[in-house]
């Protein structure tokens, strides 16, 4: 594995810590009944968004999922606007029209979280088509879960990207469950990455809790796509610390599994260990990042809370462009 330098290690750590802190605060706000609807926590899967998006420019595109806060943050979103959206404010990314499941930030190439499992996969494919058509070197990355790999969009999109050699990278976050269905009961193959072969593109299988492994695989796939060599499929094994959604009773998992795996699959604890062991930074340096992130979250929530409630008067204006 290629060595990671200090600035890269610290940046990956900061992004992961920010995602975790965001999810913890969002969960708290939800518990306090300050939010409406539902949220899906990305806690435990931070290494994937951080490791992949580290290779992307602002003008590269991503599509995300219902579990989308992490992708949004890793792609450079403003935390205040994210919290404002969760709180239904006019100052939120979607001015209260989208909420957690539809946050988009087109200024940073984020084409949106998506409430439909697998719904973003063809959209990223179309974005990659734009890059190819206009002759730019932009890349489109689609994030999706193991559940989406059994949707038709996965099959149709990977085939189109392969025959047209599109600059697309497909990232499966295998968090072991499609809602309540364990991955073993959803696939007859052991290694999901093997499906790539059927489409004629490289498949990579990485430990999704190790941000170094994700960073290395994504670096290869993104560089390949940017160089016009076509798409790739990455499967990153992971584990979600929380249920499918806030309040999920998790009847499909044992307490032992939840507690054991939560410890075993913690990309942030792991990163702290190797960053210190490799002498890239001290524990005190990392603690300082943690404090900065906590302060940033506090500021973002305070800013969001000052925003006015989203205006119903303007609702029809956003249905059609140019009206």
């Amino acid at each position: 594995m290629s060595a990671i330098d200090r600035p890269t290690a610290l940046e990956l750590y900061r992004v992961m810590r920010t995602i975790r802190a965001f999810e913890e605060r969002a969960t708290q706000l939800f518990g306090e009944n300050k939010m409406w609807g539902t949220i899906h926590s990305y806690a435990g899967e931070e290494a994937i968004a951080a490791g992949v998006c580290a290779h992307l420019r602002d003008d590269d595109w991503i599509t995300s999922t219902h579990r989308g806060h992490g992708h949004c943050i890793a792609k450079g979103a403003d935390l205040g606007k994210m919290f404002a959206e969760l709180l239904g404010r006019e100052t939120g990314y979607c001015r209260g029209r989208g909420g957690s499941m539809h946050i988009a930030d087109t200024s940073k190439g984020n084409l949106g979280a998506n409430g439909i499992v697998g719904g973003g996969i063809p959209i990223a494919t179309g974005a990659a088509l734009t890059a190819k058509q206009l002759g730019t070197d932009q890349v489109a990355v689609s994030f999706f879960g193991d559940g989406a790999v059994n949707q038709g969009t996965f099959h149709e999109s990977l085939n189109l990207a392969a025959i047209w050699k599109l600059p697309a990278v497909y990232v499966c976050e295998n968090n072991q469950y499609a809602e309540s269905l364990p991955v073993k009961r959803a696939f007859a193959v052991e290694d999901i990455a093997k499906r790539a072969e059927g489409y004629g593109m490289p498949g990579m299988h990485v430990d999704g809790r190790d941000v170094r492994a994700v960073h290395a695989a994504a670096g290869e796939a993104v560089a390949r796509a940017r160089a016009g060599k076509g798409p790739a499929f990455i499967v990153a094994d992971s584990y979600r610390h929380e249920g499918h959604y806030y309040g999920d009773p998790r009847k499909y998992q044992s307490k032992d599994e939840i507690e054991g795996w939560r410890k075993q699959f913690d990309p942030i604890a792991d990163a702290r260990a190797w960053i210190v062991a490799d002498e890239l930074a001290s524990a005190a340096d990392l603690d300082a990042i943690d404090r900065d992130v906590a302060a940033e979250i506090d500021r973002a929530v305070a800013w969001a809370d000052e925003g006015p409630l989203a205006s119903p008067i303007k609702l029809p204006e956003d249905v059609y462009a140019g009206d």
């Binding site: 087109t106 063809p122 088509l129 058509q133 969009t153 462009a321």
Partner: protein
């Protein structure tokens, strides 16, 4: 508008409906390199109904992008391309196949702009065709406009003449919203005079295709042709029907419909799609709500029977309104 009116009238040429659509595609692709066409059998074959004939030779395989049989992937890729700067025109061979792609049409294309708080535009056209009359049976003959009319965020166009087909397709391609553009399989080989060069027909404007005083017939797509035939027969019997071709179902030109009903005091809506939940109900309800006091009779709908489209020719014509049916319904309404 002044400048347009002052210009010399465009030269006209007789064209088939499918040629007129191809002419619009060619001109828009020449005008804007971001316009691409994506779909099945659209390259050397020229499309199942020969709308893209000749375009592959002219624009090549990257702009006439022929795909595998993969409706969901095609429409989804068009959504992504539209979000990021292209202006894709999808050709979906039959509207009956829209079911395969419906998530990308309804949950993605139609709603992205709204869900994202106005951050996005989805300038794409989904061209497809529907309707019966060719013995293609139930899976290739439906009229599904009501599905799309019910979804906030889509525009919906159904041209009946070659000139309207060209002008409306041009406007649809230049529109910054997802436009569902429904052609009719039996209109492709109908002929009409079409303006040469750039020709735009604004979305959201109905067209009075026949003026009359005794009743208003509101219709669209192939039933416009039937209604005009019926109008000629009714005139021979002393009944003057005003025939309004909606052309665009969303947005709806309410004023033209209401203005006509206020003049004739009678409304007959004619469409090929089945009556239950059809778009005719929307027109009838709107007129009842907005112009009830102007009506001399209850609004009447003449529409398809509530069955799938059958195969045999004599059965097929039984289930959708024919010219005789329109004449009969108009006489009942006026009588």
């Amino acid at each position: 508008m002044q400048a347009t009116e002052a210009r010399a009238p465009a030269a006209m040429r007789e064209m088939f409906y499918n040629e007129a659509l191809g002419d619009a595609l060619r001109l828009e692709m020449q005008r804007d390199e971001r316009v691409i066409v994506i779909g099945e059998d659209i390259a050397e074959h020229g499309g199942a109904f020969q709308v893209t004939a000749g375009l592959f030779d002219k624009f090549g395989s990257t702009r006439i992008r022929q795909t595998p049989i993969s409706e969901l992937g095609i429409v989804g890729a068009a959504v992504g391309a539209a979000l990021t700067g292209l202006r894709p025109v999808v050709e979906l061979m039959y509207v009956d196949f829209a079911g395969l792609a419906m998530d990308q049409i309804v949950n993605q294309a139609a709603q992205n702009r709204f869900m994202f708080g106005g951050q996005a535009r989805v300038p794409m056209v989904l061209r497809t065709q529907g309707g019966s009359g060719r013995g293609n049976a139930a899976q290739h003959s439906k009229s599904l406009e009501a599905w799309f009319a019910h979804v906030a965020g889509l525009k919906l166009v159904m041209p009946s003449t070659p000139a309207d087909a060209k002008g409306l397709l041009t406007a649809a391609i230049r529109d910054d919203n997802p436009v569902i553009f429904l052609e009719h399989k039996l209109l492709y080989r109908t002929k009409g005079q079409v303006p040469e060069g750039e020709h735009l027909v604004a979305l959201g404007r109905a067209d009075v295709k026949r003026a009359g005083t005794d009743l208003t017939i509101v219709t669209w797509s192939r039933e416009v042709l039937f209604s005009l035939e019926a109008g000629a027969r009714l005139a021979a019997d002393g009944i003057e029907a005003e025939v309004i071709d909606l052309r665009t179902l969303v947005p709806l030109d309410r004023e033209t419909v209401l203005g006509s009903v206020r003049k004739t005091h009678r409304l007959l809506v004619v469409h090929e799609a089945i009556k239950r939940g059809g778009y005719g109900a929307e027109i009838a309800a709107m007129v009842a709500e907005e112009a009830f006091d102007d009506l001399d009779a209850a609004p009447k709908r003449l529409a398809g029977l509530e069955t799938p489209i059958p195969y045999a020719q004599h059965l097929e014509t039984t289930v959708v309104p024919q010219i005789d049916d329109i004449v009969r319904a108009a006489k009942e309404l006026v009588g």
